[in-house]
């Protein structure tokens, strides 16, 4: 067990514990803040896997964007309008089915991935290769995703206008 392993277990513990608290806490603001630590832990694990660009994007998009908007919405409605938002359990059967299906997909991809668990296998700088792949091999997918995001933006703007 070296320092590398220790750091991995630290991030793994942060991720799992905070994810557990996200779903068990009744206070929705607390859930949102536990989610912050989950994202942070996942970003740390990405860095350990050598995917530093994905780690940064994880922080920028999820912590800097989605989480802040989520907090914004919760805080604006929770304290100012005096409506108590509590999370409860509803639709247990569809939820279980969905979670089981998703867990199955995740486990299948986990077993079928060729994990690089030796330090020297992990590339030091993957960002340049990633950019190269996105522009050359996956150019069409990349453009389509861009258009999808643009459609979502236009849709959001037109809904907000009504």
């Amino acid at each position: 067990m070296n320092v590398y392993d220790l750091i991995f277990y630290l991030f793994a513990a942060i991720t799992i514990l905070s994810a557990f608290f996200v779903v068990t806490t009744r206070n929705i603001v607390y859930s949102a803040y536990y989610l912050l630590f989950t994202f942070f832990g996942i970003a740390g694990i990405y860095v350990l896997l050598g995917a530093d660009f994905i780690a940064m994007v994880q922080l920028i998009v999820y912590v800097g964007g989605i989480l802040i908007l989520l907090l914004f919405g919760v805080m604006l409605t929770n304290k100012i309008t005096n409506v108590d938002i509590k999370s409860g359990t509803i639709h247990t059967v569809p939820a279980t089915l969905g979670v089981a299906l998703f867990a199955g997909i995740l486990l299948a991809s986990m077993w079928n991935t060729n994990w690089k668990n030796v330090n020297s296998d992990i590339q030091a700088a993957s960002t340049q290769n990633l950019g190269f792949l996105l522009i050359h091999q996956y150019a069409l997918v990349f453009e389509l995703l861009g258009i999808l995001l643009l459609i979502a933006l236009i849709g959001a703007a037109s809904m907000a206008r009504k």
Binding site: Y4, Y33, L36, G65, I68, L71, F72, K79
Partner: protein
């Protein structure tokens, strides 16, 4: 250089990196915050035809140390109705966010906290924690002024992040790197190699870049000014409307942490502007160390130039604070969404075209 030293002592590359990333806090942020608070009081005083602090030390130079001692002794007041765990974590989160940024800032050729490839992107990512911390502080205080201040601050920071990132993108397009150390190394030589004057590559493109780079610099300076909540964008802590914004309820050391984070942020954004546009730690005219053949002197000179440029931009921030009145909320959003973002987009497209051609 410094990394090798720690590596020899600890014999582990991870521990050595951690120590190196922690260094800026003690060697730079704390002394800088002490100096900047004093400077701010002096600048404001002289602009208003006063003297400012004069009693402690020479021209009040030790005033901030006395203030910190006072803050340490103060009782730590937590409001009864506040959300205690979040109330206690919030200043730490804000401080971590603004201090993590310093890990990727190249102070000199010999010292950078962590020489990662994604330096500038890491800085943008780490500032997300500051927003989360500010919202946490405002919400946990259970005070409507704090919450309003936090909301305004978060809205402002996430809006003004867009023009900042667009400007950073143009720099990435020209230089092809996101590593701040490499970026600073590229602008070596004399001041005409700085990005504000078109970058290191000599040619027609360099002269075409100059006007766009100046526009870029103005956009990023305005938007970073808004990101650190300085006047004329200080509506999150507008004293005449919101008492003091999200840190109204904080006292003692927790208040001091917010204060420290604020001044650390001021230097961080100045350092980013310096590294992107003004040659980073490079001297504008060449080094004394090279002239006299004493090469160990060069990193120290680089540190001097970096701090000097950074503090100059911090001084400009203070200058603006005591010159301009505050913007209204709607004006603030209009400046960002109707002026800065479209201009930044046009700039991005034009610079992209020039780089391709």
């Amino acid at each position: 250089m410094i990394y090798d030293f720690f590596f020899r002592i600890t014999d582990s590359n991870i521990i050595a990196s951690i120590i190196q990333s922690l260094l800026p806090l003690f060697i730079f942020i704390l002394p800088f915050a002490l100096f900047a608070v004093w400077l701010e009081r002096k600048v404001s005083a002289h602009m208003q035809d006063r003297l400012g602090p004069m009693r402690v030390g020479y021209h009040g130079a030790l005033q901030t140390i006395a203030d910190i001692l006072k803050l340490v002794q103060k009782e730590d007041i937590i409001p009864n109705e506040a959300d205690k765990p979040l109330f206690n974590i919030a200043p730490v989160l804000v401080f971590i966010g603004s201090y993590a940024v310093f890990a990727a800032i190249p102070f000199s050729g010999a010292f950078i906290g962590s020489n990662i490839d994604l330096g500038i992107i890491f800085i943008i990512a780490a500032s997300g924690f500051v927003v989360a911390g500010i919202l946490m502080a405002g919400w946990a205080s259970n005070n409507k002024y704090s919450l309003l201040g936090a909301m305004r601050s978060a809205a402002q920071i996430i809006s003004y992040e867009i023009p900042t990132v667009l400007v950073v993108l143009t720099i990435i397009m020209i230089t092809g790197t996101t590593n701040l150390q490499t970026l600073s190394e590229m602008q070596t030589g004399h001041f005409w190699n700085w990005m504000i004057l078109g970058g290191p590559k000599f040619g027609i493109a360099k002269f075409i870049f100059i006007p766009f780079m100046i526009i870029n610099f103005i956009i990023i300076y305005i938007s970073t000014l808004a990101e650190v909540n300085r006047t004329p964008f200080d509506i999150p802590e507008a004293e005449s409307e919101l008492v003091s914004g999200y840190h109204t309820e904080y006292s003692g050391m927790k208040f001091a942490m917010f204060f420290l984070a604020e001044y650390a942020n001021m230097f961080a954004v100045s350092a980013i502007v310096t590294a992107l546009f003004f040659g980073g730690y490079q001297s504008p005219v060449g080094y004394l160390g090279n002239l006299f053949g004493m090469h160990w002197l060069v990193p120290i000179e680089q540190f001097f130039w970096f701090t000097a440029k950074g503090i100059f931009f911090v001084f400009v921030q203070m200058w603006l604070r005591w010159t301009l009145p505050r913007l209204r909320v709607d004006q603030l959003m209009a400046v960002c969404w109707k002026y800065l973002i479209p201009i930044a987009f046009v700039n991005l497209i034009i610079i992209g075209l020039i780089t391709v051609l």
